[in-house]
Structures are given as structure tokens and as C-alpha cells.
């Protein structure tokens, strides 16, 4: 195989797919990127068995067709440091195990593993249901939920983002509410739920009333990295989503990410979202964040609790530790209940209030032991449930 390609094109392509590669993998070939010529293009593929990423990038010249696999992180490290705009020659003779990477006066020779040993990539497996999401819709879904995805392997079915169609009419034939697409994440301590108008084609991704799909955490985080570089551009490409009971695929520009779904049952999350919390606290979100940030300076590994004391028009935010002392901050708030105290992990409070774009955050509370429901008062499409700590 022998090709030349512009450094910036190659770098961008590798950057898109190399995040999939595990730094320490059990199988040596999984540390590698598969490079194959496809006509006048080069196809880059990576996999960790759960997620496959494939990108097609244009070559400058293809002198000799072929394929090889080489350590993805090493190649990325080299290409990143080559001079901008240089032509990179990738050459592997049939009788050699080494690939040479040549750019200007730099030459690297890297060991390869036979491309026949690379696992099969599932980017072309047909998936029956398709719908489109705009980049901003996908960003909304991910940004409002990613912080609450679990990392606890003992509850693997929480290690991802659950998506499903909420069909009100199926639950209550007299309902006039239109079906929506919901994304939910939880780590058992907090829960994030975001809703979107149902995209065209998404209505049948699963039978009405049945469970949706759990997309692995890593897939979601890689996807978010991928779309980030295009945010802010004038014309944003659409992300095509294809889904089956086993796989989900995101096609975006020249990149295709195909991921296994988590084989597990997401818990009945609707059961744990309180609907009868009658105490309402309305507070300026920016002031609240600043107050929590200030007092949390004193929190320690041993104690991460921020105590919120609610009384009429005053919210007192308080941290105390025997090691670092105590601190409190008062902010104006609108509160309609009996005076009460409730404690939350300060980090969780900041994670949630980070997502509230409007000015006023609404907390709906029952008592100091029960979960709180937090949302932007002017936008109920995203809500967050937060469990308290003992105070």
C-alpha cells in the first residue's frame, strides 16, 4: 500500500476515530487503527468491540491499494506534530511488517498487524429504523444528561443514555399530547430527563409502551466530542440515526459511529420522579451557583454536603467541616413552604444548575429526606431529580 495525503486531512480523520481505541487493550490489534484504500479515498476504522468508528477521507494520490493496521495513538501523536500542510506518504511494502510514514524530511517506521486480524466493522450492517437529529438537538440531549450517566459497573444498565418514545396516547387514549422523544440518564443519586418533539421516522423505533434503548456512555461522550468541532458554524450537518434492537448508528458528515446497545433493562424511572412535591423554591440560578461555589471551597473528601436552609424569602447555603471551618451565604429566594433544611452534594447541585440556561431555577421539594425536582422555570423540557444527603 502506498498513498499520499495532506497532513491536516489525515489528522482530522484520525482525531475523529482514535477516541474509541482503548489505551490498554487485551487484544493488541484493538490498539490499532485500520487504514484501507477505497478508490481514491482512505478509510480509517477503529473499534473496541462495542463501538466502531469509520471515516472516509480523500487522498492526494493512491499509488498502490491495500490496507494495514498500526497503533492508533502512536500514529495520531506523529501526525499531530508534523508541519501543517505537508504531504504525508504512507507506504507499506507487501513483504514488510513495517509501515513508513514520511513527511518532508521526517521518516517513521512503525510495526503493523495484519489487517485480516482486525475485527469486522459493522458500519454497513443494515439497521431498520432511521430518523434525523439536528446537531443542536443532539447537543441538547447529550449536554443535559451526560453528567448523570453512571460509571458504576455493578449497575451496568445505568452506564449510558436511555432513549425512548413517550406515547401519551398509548397510555391514555384520550390524551391529546403529541408523542415525544425522551432521553434519560441516572447514576442512582440524580436523574436527568430531557424531551424533544418526536423526529420524523422515530415513532416506530420500538413498539408503543415497550422499553427503549440504552446507548453506552462512551458512545455518547465520543459523539459529543465529534459534533463539538462544528458547533457555531453557520450551516450544520444533520446527524442520521439508525437503530435496531442491538445497534445504533450515527452518521455525521464522513464519520459513521456504530455502537452496540447496552443489553439490560433501564429501571422504571418515571416511578422515582416525584409528582406531589408541593414546596416551591424559586431562586436566581447564577446567584445560587455562585453561593454554592463559594461555600463549597470548605467542603472536604469527608463531607460534600451543602445545607440549604429555606425560610420565606431567604435561602441560606451552608457548609461546615471540622477540618476547614464553616461558611454560609445568603441569597434572596421565593419559597412557599414551612421553614426546612435539606442537604445536597454540592457537586451535584452545580452539575444540575449548569444546565439551566434561563435566569430562575425552580426547586420542587417534599421534605429533607425526599428527592427534589429541579428545572428551569421557563423551560420544562429538561428536569433533574436530585436525592438529598443527611444533614
Amino acid at each position: 500500500m502506498k498513498i499520499t495525503i495532506e497532513q491536516s486531512v489525515l489528522l482530522k480523520g484520525i482525531a475523529h476515530v482514535q477516541g474509541i481505541v482503548e489505551v490498554k487493550s487485551t487484544f493488541p490489534v484493538l490498539a490499532n487503527i485500520l487504514i484501507q484504500t477505497k478508490g481514491s479515498d482512505l478509510q480509517l476504522s477503529t473499534t473496541d468491540f462495542t463501538i466502531d468508528a469509520v471515516e472516509l477521507i480523500p487522498c492526494t494520490t493512491v499509488s498502490d491499494k491495500g490496507s494495514l493496521t498500526v497503533n492508533a495513538h502512536t500514529l495520531y501523536g506523529i501526525v499531530k506534530k508534523l508541519a501543517d500542510g505537508t504531504q504525508v506518504e504512507i507506504h507499506k511494502a507487501d513483504d514488510s511488517d513495517l509501515v513508513s510514514i514520511r513527511a518532508g524530511r521526517s521518516v517513521f517506521k512503525l510495526p503493523t498487524i495484519d489487517s485480516a486480524d482486525f475485527p469486522e466493522i459493522r458500519s454497513e450492517v443494515a439497521l431498520p429504523n432511521q430518523f434525523d437529529l439536528t446537531i443542536s438537538e443532539l447537543k441538547t440531549i447529550i449536554d443535559h444528561t451526560k453528567f448523570a450517566m453512571s460509571t458504576d459497573d455493578t449497575r451496568y444498565y445505568l452506564n449510558g443514555l436511555y432513549i425512548h418514545v413517550k406515547d401519551y396516547k398509548h397510555e391514555n387514549p384520550e390524551s391529546n399530547e403529541a408523542p415525544i422523544l425522551r432521553a434519560v440518564s441516572t447514576d442512582g443519586h440524580r436523574l436527568a430527563r430531557v424531551e424533544l418533539p418526536l423526529p420524523e421516522g422515530a415513532a416506530n423505533i420500538h413498539p408503543p409502551g415497550e422499553s427503549g434503548f440504552i446507548i453506552p456512555r462512551k458512545t455518547i461522550l465520543e459523539l459529543r466530542k465529534l459534533i463539538d468541532e462544528d458547533m457555531g458554524k453557520d450551516s450544520l450537518p444533520i446527524v442520521k440515526v439508525s437503530i435496531s434492537n442491538e445497534f445504533i448508528r450515527f452518521s455525521y458528515g464522513n464519520v459513521v459511529i456504530t455502537s452496540k446497545l447496552v443489553d439490560g433493562k433501564f429501571p422504571d424511572y418515571e416511578r422515582v420522579i416525584p409528582t406531589t412535591n408541593d414546596k416551591r423554591l424559586e431562586v436566581d440560578c447564577a446567584s445560587f451557583r455562585l453561593a454554592v461555589e463559594r461555600v463549597s471551597t470548605l467542603s472536604t473528601e469527608l463531607s460534600k454536603v451543602v445545607r440549604l436552609s429555606l425560610k420565606d424569602r431567604t435561602l441560606t447555603v451552608n457548609v461546615s467541616s471540622s477540618e476547614n471551618g464553616s461558611g454560609l451565604d445568603e441569597i434572596e429566594a421565593d419559597y412557599n413552604g414551612e421553614p426546612m433544611e435539606v442537604g445536597f452534594n454540592w457537586k451535584y447541585l452545580l452539575d444540575v444548575t449548569d444546565q439551566i440556561q434561563g435566569g430562575i431555577a425552580l426547586f420542587k421539594l417534599a421534605d429533607s429526606n425526599g428527592p427534589a425536582v429541579i428545572s428551569d422555570i421557563s423551560d420544562q423540557s429538561a428536569i433533574y431529580v436530585l436525592m438529598p444527603m443527611r444533614v
Binding site: 442512582g188 469527608l302 471540622s322 425526599g370
Partner: protein, 439 residues
């Protein structure tokens, strides 16, 4: 204004368990006394006279029983109710003596001496310590030793010296470079330094470091490279630089074990289940006391590992163990007892002669660090109040005054699981019926 530095005092009760036995039994004064571990297993405390007879710490009682009888040693089963109560009395006097203190163990207490004296009043330190020692002895009957020094590590060292002196007090002063401190360090074995275990002491000796003074004089770079930041801290403390302050919050425990041997081997499920329920209730109560929560509970049942002659049963010994997730972070006795009972029923094998049961909570979290689980049943304020009420009652009227039903279920043959405590002294201070009588 910053108070004048006064360093620390470490007050340590002398041969504490033996001293507690002597308080209510004056005929033991001057006689060798030992206290046995749970189930009368091995020696866990020795009076000075018993030490002088060469009785080893940890020696199995059944092996030296005859020797003890010949030497007319007074032998007691451990009476933790008495020791706990006596400890509370001693600690109450000590903590009243200074503004800041740290109860370090059942028989040790650090006192912070800052601000007690002006710089020109250093002569008042020793009389103060002697008077405090006298007060503890007079009010409780317990003899204590007091070591005073600029840092906690040096105070520990001073206390060791105090124990060997008839006065029972030792003040190394506030100058860590004084001849007295250097002489004390030069004479002090490595393994007795606070924070240096036996392994480190062997390793250090192999490197040519043989005394506390040698360790203190090592360069920081050497200490950091070989012993890490802890080694550096120990050396700094020996140089009089304060690295350890008083710990007002107890250091977090990493796990919790409640384990007892049965008074005799048990073959029936009912008494074993009652024993495990008691251990589980006790584990939950300990966690509540320490403000900790567990997520998992493990029950282990064991047969006797030793034959009557002390030889090892080897392959014939049997042990089975099973863990369960509690489904939430908890210290609720009801949840612990229910889970432990289920586990016991699952691992019990009929026909085995069980000798010991253990309840183990492998991972603990502080209550102030745990956010409730969204999918677990919400622990109601009522449940918490119930546990608090139970703790209040048992602390006032004794642990046996209120139990879970599962703790008292007996077997059809009326098998009892309680520990063997054939030589226990009366609960002189906590049970009305066992008060000392003067005739």
C-alpha cells in the same frame, strides 16, 4: 491573641483492664492479674506482676492454664461493660482538665496544652501533670502515666518513659533540641515510635538506622524517597515540628466486623441465626454510633479450626460465607438483621458443628458523604427515630434491655450461643444488682 504553645500530653491508663478489675477487688493489688480475650481465648492484658512472671501477651489460655494456677495468677474473662464505663469516667476527668482533647482509644487520651502556661511557667508543667494523675487515681482508682512534649509523636515517646518512672509523669519540655529530648530519642527503640511498625523497624535497622534519634537526623530527601510523606512527618514530629493536630472527628473506619466464638459448638440453625442477628444488630449500632453507613453485609459461619489438644483440624474445618447487597447505604438494624438472617439460612449446612459466626461490612461511607439512592425505598424519618430511640434505651439500660426478636429465638434443644465467660467479674458500675456490697 495566639495562645502560648504548650505541646501535647498523652495520658495512658496503666494495664487498663487489669487496673479496672483491681478497683473493685483491692485484694488483687500487688498480685499477678491477667484478662482473657472473648470466649476466654487468650491473654489480652497483664498486670506488671504478671509480666514479671514471663506471661506472654496473646498466649492461649488453655495452654498455660496450669502454669497460671501454679503461679497463683488471678484470671478474669474480659468485662467490656466495666472497662467501657471506667474508661468513660477517666476520659471525663481528662477532657475536663484542658480546653481541647482527643480520646484516642479506650485507655489513651491526648490533651492539648496550648495556653495553659506562660513561657516563664514551664516549672508548673510537671506538678500539674502529677496533680492530674493523682486526681484520676483518687476519683476512679485507675493509675495513669502522663507524657508531655511538643508534638503528639514525642508525647507518645514521653509516655513510654513515664511508665518506667515511679512518678508516672515525664515532661520532655518544649525545646525539641534539648539534651533531655536527644537522650530520650537516642535510647528509644524504633519499633516503639508512633507510626513505625515492626516491618519498618526491621527495614530501617537493615539500613543502619537503629534509634529514634537516628531517624530524626536523616535528611528529608532520604526520608521522602524511602518512606514517603508519612516517614517525613514522623521525623518532623520527632524534631518537634507539629504535623498531627488533635482529631476532633474519628478517623473513618474502612470496614466493620462483629465476630464471636460460641460458648460451645452449635449444630442447630436457630441459635446460630440468633447469634448472627445479634452480631448484625450490633454492627448496625456501631455504625450509627460512628455516623457510618454500609452497603453490603457478609455472614461467615465457621467450625472449630482446632481440636481439643490445640492441634489444627486442617481439611476437616469448614467455613462458609455469603454476602448480600443491602440495596442502599444503611445503618438501620432492621435491615441488617433481616439480611443477615437470610444469609445465615442460605449458608447453614446441617450436621456441622459451628463454633463461630462473623458479620462483616466490607465498605463503609460516612453519613455526610452519601447521597440517598433514587431507586431504593426512601428511609423515612420515622425509621431513623426508631433506631435513635433504640440506641437511647440500650445506652441507658444496657445492650440486652431491648433486642430484635430475631436475636432471642432459641433452638428446640435450647442451645445457647453466648460466649464462654466463666471468670467474669461483676458489672460493678452499670448493673444495680451487681453493685459492690460493704458488709
Amino acid at each position: 491573641m495566639t495562645p502560648v504553645k504548650g505541646g501535647f500530653a498523652l495520658v495512658d491508663c496503666n494495664n487498663f483492664y487489669c487496673s479496672c478489675e483491681r478497683v473493685f477487688n483491692p485484694r488483687l493489688e500487688g498480685r499477678p492479674v491477667v484478662v482473657l480475650s472473648n470466649n476466654d481465648g487468650c491473654i489480652v492484658a497483664r498486670s506488671a506482676e504478671a509480666k514479671a512472671l514471663g506471661i506472654k501477651m496473646g498466649a492461649p489460655f488453655f495452654k498455660i492454664k496450669e502454669q497460671l494456677e501454679q503461679q497463683r495468677v488471678e484470671v478474669f474473662s474480659s468485662n467490656y461493660t466495666l472497662y467501657g464505663d471506667m474508661s468513660a469516667r477517666v476520659m471525663s476527668i481528662l477532657t475536663d482538665a484542658v480546653p481541647r482533647s482527643e480520646v484516642y482509644s479506650i485507655d489513651e487520651c491526648f490533651l492539648q496544652l496550648d495556653g495553659l502556661w506562660q513561657p516563664n511557667e514551664s516549672h508548673a508543667r510537671l506538678p500539674w501533670a502529677s496533680e492530674l494523675r493523682q486526681r484520676v487515681r483518687q476519683w476512679t482508682g485507675i493509675p495513669v502515666s502522663i507524657g508531655m512534649a511538643p508534638t503528639k509523636t514525642l508525647a507518645k515517646l514521653a509516655n513510654r518513659i513515664a511508665k518506667k518512672q515511679t512518678s508516672g509523669v515525664c515532661d520532655l519540655g518544649l525545646d525539641p533540641d534539648s539534651a533531655a529530648v536527644k537522650a530520650a530519642l537516642a535510647d528509644f527503640p524504633l519499633e516503639d515510635i508512633w507510626g513505625i511498625g515492626r516491618q519498618w523497624s526491621v527495614r530501617l535497622q537493615a539500613m543502619g538506622v537503629s534509634s529514634a534519634l537516628d531517624l530524626r537526623n536523616l535528611p528529608d530527601s532520604w526520608l521522602r524517597a524511602r518512606m514517603g510523606v508519612n516517614g517525613l512527618r514522623i521525623a518532623a514530629e520527632l524534631r518537634g515540628i507539629r504535623c498531627h493536630s488533635l482529631e476532633s472527628e474519628g478517623v473513618d473506619k474502612k470496614s466493620c466486623v462483629v465476630s464471636r466464638s460460641f460458648g460451645r459448638s452449635l449444630r442447630e440453625l436457630a441459635p446460630i441465626r440468633a447469634a448472627v442477628a445479634t452480631h448484625a444488630a450490633r454492627a448496625a449500632q456501631k455504625l450509627r454510633h460512628d455516623g457510618l453507613l454500609a452497603r453490603q453485609i457478609r455472614v461467615t459461619l465457621m467450625t472449630n479450626r482446632f481440636a481439643a489438644d490445640g492441634s489444627h483440624h486442617g481439611a476437616e474445618s469448614y467455613e462458609s460465607s455469603l454476602a448480600a447487597d443491602l440495596g442502599r447505604w444503611s445503618n438501620d438494624g432492621q435491615i441488617f438483621v433481616a439480611a443477615a438472617t437470610r444469609l445465615t439460612e442460605a449458608i447453614f449446612v446441617s450436621g456441622k458443628a459451628y463454633k463461630k459466626a462473623m458479620v462483616f461490612c466490607p465498605v463503609l461511607e460516612s453519613e455526610s458523604r452519601v447521597t440517598a439512592d433514587i431507586f431504593a425505598p426512601v428511609e423515612t424519618a420515622q425509621q431513623r427515630r426508631l433506631m435513635a430511640a433504640m440506641d437511647e434505651i440500650t445506652s441507658r439500660y444496657g445492650r440486652s434491655s431491648l433486642k430484635f426478636a430475631a436475636e432471642v429465638a432459641g433452638g428446640s434443644r435450647g442451645e445457647k450461643w453466648e460466649m464462654r465467660r466463666d471468670r467474669i467479674s461483676p458489672n460493678y458500675t452499670t448493673r444495680m444488682s451487681e453493685l459492690l456490697r460493704l458488709h
